[in-house]
């Protein structure tokens, strides 16, 4: 039912004129960001490893699409297919180092590698345009905002299904076993590092696809895509939504995005301190509801059910 509503949404919005156009853009962005957040959550929620450098793969995907389309003159679809591949290659290289480490060291190293890539993109002026970014990415004639929304929605749903299959496959169960008890996983003969590495690569590939999709929406690739603060977005979304569930990150993305727009409507100054607000939200979630909105919903349901039983 939710899916049907999502498909119908642009046609309703399309009738609203200028405001509708804006909302179509916003919903497309939410869908793409939800894909980005879900990709991170494969590592964060299911793998139990905090990565502070996930934006690197988003950025690699974004720049792959931008460069291929702008400089290579390649159509959108092949460029979009190259994005997750490039991101996966990058994730394979970075992940190879990172998964050798657990817990804190892993988080540190992902942050360091993320910033390293950011600096490379920032300084490699001839290739990436430095902080000017890459403007004017071509737009295929067929791609009206509504079509692009539907395109992204279909891709998101396919990816979501893929992730659902991954999480519930023996691979996904192994990853969760490692999260719960790494030592025990080792004892029963699981090659922990290899599973984590594969998981890291898969997550990187999905993030790359999200980056590619976003570049086409934005028609502009910029260094901000790789910045550490971009890595914070999917972490926040996953936590707010609930990192132990598959829909959590997507839900969290939507909630945060609507909150942002809502605050913007109330007062312009509130957006100035958006990072601070996010920080406080994260603080509250960590302290009081580590399983996010999905967990909260579950607890409320439980409460109601037990109330009914009495």
């Amino acid at each position: 039912m939710v899916v049907a509503a999502l498909f119908a949404l642009p046609f309703i919005l399309n009738r609203l004129g200028k405001i509708g156009e804006y909302w179509i853009w916003v919903s497309t962005e939410i869908i793409i960001s939800a894909l980005f957040a879900s990709s991170l959550n494969l590592i964060l929620g299911f793998g139990g490893m905090v990565s502070f450098g996930h934006a690197a793969f988003f950025g690699v995907g974004a720049y792959t699409v931008a460069l291929l389309m702008k400089k290579g003159g390649i159509p959108l679809i092949p460029a979009l297919m190259a994005a997750p591949m490039m991101a996966a290659i990058m994730a394979a290289v970075i992940g190879w180092f990172c998964v050798r480490l657990i817990g804190l060291y892993f988080a540190i190293l992902t942050l360091a590698f993320g910033q390293l890539l950011y600096m490379i993109v920032f300084q490699w002026y001839n290739f990436t345009g430095g902080d000017d970014g890459i403007h004017g990415i071509p737009k295929p004639a067929l791609l009206t905002p509504v079509n692009y929304y539907l395109f992204c929605l279909v891709i998101f749903l396919v990816c979501f299904l893929l992730m659902w299959m991954i999480v519930n496959s023996s691979f996904g169960l192994t990853i969760r076993t490692i999260r719960e008890n790494m030592d025990r996983a080792k004892f029963i003969g699981i090659n922990v590092k290899r599973f984590q590495w594969f998981n890291f690569i898969i997550a990187g590939a999905f993030a790359g696809l999200a980056g590619g999709l976003f570049t086409e929406l934005n028609r502009f690739a910029q260094t901000d895509f790789l910045h550490w603060s971009k890595s914070a977005e999917p972490i926040l979304a996953s936590l707010v939504g609930g990192m132990y569930s598959l829909v959590g990150p997507a839900l969290g993305t939507a909630v945060l995005m609507f909150l942002n727009i809502f605050l913007q409507q109330i007062h312009q100054d509130l957006i100035e301190i958006w990072a601070m607000i996010l920080g406080f939200i994260l603080l509250l979630v960590v302290l009081f509801a580590p399983d996010g909105l999905v967990g909260l919903y579950g607890r409320i349901r439980e409460r109601i059910d037990s109330f009914g039983a009495i």
């Binding site: 964060l44 139990g48 905090v50 502070f52 180092f97 050798r100 480490l101 657990i102 817990g103 804190l104 060291y105 988080a107 540190i108 190293l109 942050l111 360091a112 590698f113 910033q115 390293l116 600096m119 490379i120 300084q123 550490w228 914070a232 972490i235 936590l239 100035e272 301190i273 990072a275 601070m276 996010l278 920080g279 406080f280 994260l282 603080l283 960590v286 302290l287 580590p290």
Partner: protein, 294 residues
């Protein structure tokens, strides 16, 4: 490229390394006892630097006394901030899993960095050096900036002070015991919570000292917190998390390494900490002075 020139690079690199050590030692000390890697350490250092700037506009410019006053007041102010953070937030998560601890300090980065932006804005600032340190010293036919030589002197003093505190005082015994066997220490009737709080305050103080020294060395802006925390991570990863000596060695490696690479390959210099970190992680994942962590 004369030998003197290499000496020049070496001295400047050592000065940079010493400054890095002052900040990184706080991070590693806090990790050793609290078992929390404080992402917000860089933000605290940044607050220290900006606080030094604000205070320096009030105090008499160029006098040595006002600079010394900065070195006293700013760390004290940061320790108050630290006390507030430790008692209200950190204390609640000591028993939680690593993931949540990391995310909590990360939330603090978001909050503190934005607070600095709201209060001080995005302009580039600096603190005037006291006239006593503003000239240069001639040594072996080369002239070194006096201030760098000063930092070169302060670094070892702090290292020595830390060593004395950790290995030659009762407080140090307690800190080291709390790092190794907190339960045992508690069973012996020591208030481990108190030891943890004091260690955290010490870390904040060191971040403050680093902030003041940095604000007078170079320009400061909103990016310095993130920049420094990553350098600090490189340092503690190279040296081994929780080891003060590792932090000293790591800082000097990074400082001198950047200084030497800067001239032939200025672009590579930014990348150097990461390469050094990656190499150490492949060879000894727990750092040069650390123990394998579980």
């Amino acid at each position: 490229m004369t030998p003197q020139f290499y000496l020049f690079l070496l001295v400047n690199g050592l000065a940079q390394g010493m400054l890095l050590f002052i900040i990184a030692s706080g991070l590693t000390l806090v990790f050793g006892v609290l078992r929390i890697i404080n992402f917000a350490h860089g933000s605290l250092y940044m607050i220290g630097a900006f606080l030094a700037f604000s205070l320096s506009t009030v105090l008499e410019e160029g006098s040595l006394i006002s600079f010394m006053l900065l070195l006293l007041l700013v760390p004290a102010a940061l320790m108050i901030v630290g006390l507030a953070l430790e008692t209200t937030l950190f204390r609640r998560i000591y028993d939680q899993e690593h993931l949540l601890q990391l995310l909590l300090t990360y939330a603090l980065v978001l909050i503190l960095d934005d607070t600095v932006r709201v209060i001080w804005g995005g302009d580039i600032r600096n603190v005037p050096r006291p006239t006593a340190f503003s000239g240069s010293v001639d040594l072996l036919g080369l002239s070194f900036p006096m201030y760098n030589v000063f930092i070169l002197g302060v670094g070892p003093l702090i290292a020595l002070g830390l060593w004395g505190l950790l290995y030659r005082s009762r407080a140090g015994n307690l800190i080291r015991a709390a790092a190794s066997y907190p339960e045992m220490l508690g069973a012996l009737g020591v208030n481990v919570r108190m030891v943890m709080t004091w260690t955290f305050l010490m870390g904040c103080g060191l971040a403050g000292v680093g902030g003041v020294l940095m604000a007078a060395l170079a320009n400061i802006d909103l990016g310095i917190g993130m920049e420094k925390i990553i350098e600090c991570f490189a340092v503690v990863v190279i040296g081994g998390l929780g080891s003060v000596w590792g932090a000293l060695l790591g800082s000097l490696i990074i400082g001198v390494g950047i200084s030497f690479i800067q001239l032939p390959l200025s672009r590579l210099a930014v990348v150097f900490p990461y390469i050094a970190m990656a190499l150490v992680l492949i060879w000894r994942p727990w750092g040069l002075f650390g123990r394998p962590e579980r």
